[in-house]
Amino acid sequence: MSPEAICNLLKKRFGEAIVATAADTPHPCAVVRAVDWLVVARFLRDDPQLRFNMLRCITALDLVADNKLAAVYDLVAMHDKWAAGNREQGRASEQTGSVADDGGGLDYACLHIFAVRIEVERANPHIPSVAAVWPAADWHEREAYDLMGIRFDQHPDEVSDHDGTHPRRILCPDDWEGYPLRKDYLYPLEYHGIPGTTEYELTSPKH
């Protein structure tokens, strides 16, 4: 399916849960409302037309201009051409030319690629966890919390703090303060007696 067809299907099925779509960009995606994400995710995985069985990556973004945080989910549908068990038969019929070959001669072919984007308020960044839909999300969500501070609710590996629960940190130590990838992150000047750097003007050197 083309990204446009996927966008239309989602819009038709979920209506206002799909906030916006961008089908003809280099990175086609649909913006989904955070509260509906778990339902949409299950649909993306289970719908016989879509079958997005692999979650490739979750990227956390800091949208400073909109005062929002975003999570981008990159999905791919890997399609087993011969539906297990039928492999030998399938290969034989492929040689006679009766099956269309769309995977470069491999058993698996790429059905389609799509991305989902979820934007949440910076002050209250809650997104439902999809680790139950794609187990791959477990570590990606932990990383997104660790580095960007997006709180994934009902995460399988969660700990609580004064603001409620959040996934356990993964790359930084458990007692680390702040979320390093946010644009307004202040570099710590001290961590357990280890001095941080003060030599540089630590703002973004951009512009």
Binding site: T25, P26, H27, N53, M54, L55, R56, C57, T59, A60, L61, D62, V72, D74, M78, D80, A84, G103, G104, G105, L106, D107, Y108, A109, C110, I113, A115, W134, P135, A136, D138, W139, H140, E143, L147, I170, L171, C172, P173, P180, L181, S204, P205, K206, H207
Partner: protein
């Protein structure tokens, strides 16, 4: 006891009343961060009951070097050396995939010769990386000799790289728009010489390690990952293919002209199966007691892939066209306000980069999706109910590079 309890029905060990009597006190075993079998600074906390592992929790982050934050402060060409240090055993592949992501974002054109050189470099580096995986996996399983053989051949590949760009580990050779310098005089001949020498060696590796009785005993039917699990956990590369999923981005979503090269994608098989090798080379028959998705299959994927990588290098050398090695790249390249996610087949799996531009020379965000990061996340799921001595066999067969896991 092992046959009776574990191999037939793993769960019975934990359920039946009879076994309750045999259970001993649970113990936490800390494996790493400097345990030699964990390939770097991976720490796994194992909850064990006697010799059985009940839970294996990986703790990562010991090598976290803020690669993504640094990406928000450097121009793409300056960031290329940083990608070297992610998967330091396959730096060319990292350079290549990051460069393609930037090219897609900025709309740069790459000359044909540069694309061919990139394929040569990426496949040679895949060979070097698989050789390390092969050698160190032998070490993990108690075989020292294969390691020396593997490093002998890897040394030759590193010499070739040194000839091209002066570096032996962190190359920064491939850059957005093309490659840094042209191939030196005599490189093509030396590369052919190396391939002639190398291809017969692969059968030697099989004799040395793949069909070694002890090695098969240690790896066959150990750490089995089903195809459905492999896909759900986002595993890629040899680990995914070892589980019987024939999926390779070089074929499925070709980039860098891979669709012009003839090669096949080997896939995990159970005992008696014949792995796909190029015509004229000895068959790689899967030995007894191996099942799809076990450690032996994951290991064998890398050995058999070496044939095809060597074949791709040869094809690329054959058709090497004269011409430019780098396209037009503006000095102070402004990245358009858009985002691009690109994934390519690295040595360990699919390496992905999401690059977000916002009209300035420095990207607003660079996200790296390391294949080792995703491959490692299944460790707990696989290690449950296995023997303590099998943990190194499983970790080794996943072949993680911690530089990429922690970034």
């Amino acid at each position: 006891m092992k046959n009776l309890i574990l191999e037939s029905q793993p769960d019975i060990y934990f359920d039946s009343e009879l076994q309750q009597d045999l259970q001993t006190e649970e113990m936490l075993v800390n494996m790493g961060p400097q345990h030699p079998a964990t390939h770097g600074v991976l720490r796994v906390v194992l909850r064990t009951d006697g010799e059985y592992v009940l839970e294996a929790v990986p703790h990562i982050g010991y090598l976290h070097r803020c690669a993504e934050k640094i990406g928000e402060n450097l121009q793409p060409y300056q960031y290329v050396p940083k990608t070297d240090r992610m998967d330091y055993l396959a730096a060319m592949n990292n350079n290549q995939i990051f460069s393609i992501a930037v090219e897609k974002l900025a709309g740069l054109q790459v000359p044909e010769r540069a694309r061919q050189i990139r394929v040569i470099m990426a496949e040679l580096n895949r060979l070097a990386s698989h050789l390390v995986a092969f050698g160190t996996y032998g070490l993990d399983m108690g075989a020292f000799t294969p390691f020396l053989y593997a490093f002998r051949e890897r040394e030759m590949i590193l010499d070739l790289f040194e000839m091209v760009c002066g570096a032996r580990l962190t190359y920064s050779y491939i850059t957005p728009g093309g490659v840094m310098v042209d191939l030196p005089e005599g490189f093509v001949e030396r590369c052919y010489e190396f391939l002639d020498y190398f291809m017969p060696k692969i059968a030697e590796y099989n004799d040395l390690l793949s069909y070694n009785h002890i090695f098969i005993k240690r790896t066959a039917n150990v750490g089995v990952i089903s195809a459905a699990d492999a896909i759900a956990w986002g595993l890629t590369g040899p680990v995914l293919r070892g589980s019987g999923v024939q999926w390779d981005l070089r074929k499925n979503l070709p980039y860098e002209g891979y669709e012009q090269y003839e090669f096949e994608v080997p896939v995990g098989m159970s005992a008696g199966g014949k792995m796909a090798v190029p015509a004229g080379w000895p068959d790689t028959v899967v030995p007894e007691s191996v099942v799809v998705g076990d450690s032996w299959n994951r290991y064998a994927m890398r050995v058999v892939e070496m044939y095809w990588s060597a074949l791709i290098v040869r094809q690329a050398l054959d058709r090497l066209a004269p011409g430019d090695i780098i396209g037009k790249v503006p000095k102070n390249m402004k990245l358009p306000a858009a985002e691009v996610y690109f994934e390519g087949e690295g040595a360990r799996g699919q390496l992905g980069f999401l690059v977000v531009g916002d009209g300035f020379a420095i990207p607003a965000r660079v996200k790296a999706r390391g294949p080792s990061f995703c491959n490692l996340s299944i460790l707990d799921h696989v290690c449950r109910n296995c023997l303590l001595a099998d943990v190194p066999a499983i970790v080794g067969s996943i072949d993680v590079v911690m530089g990429e896991v922690d970034r």
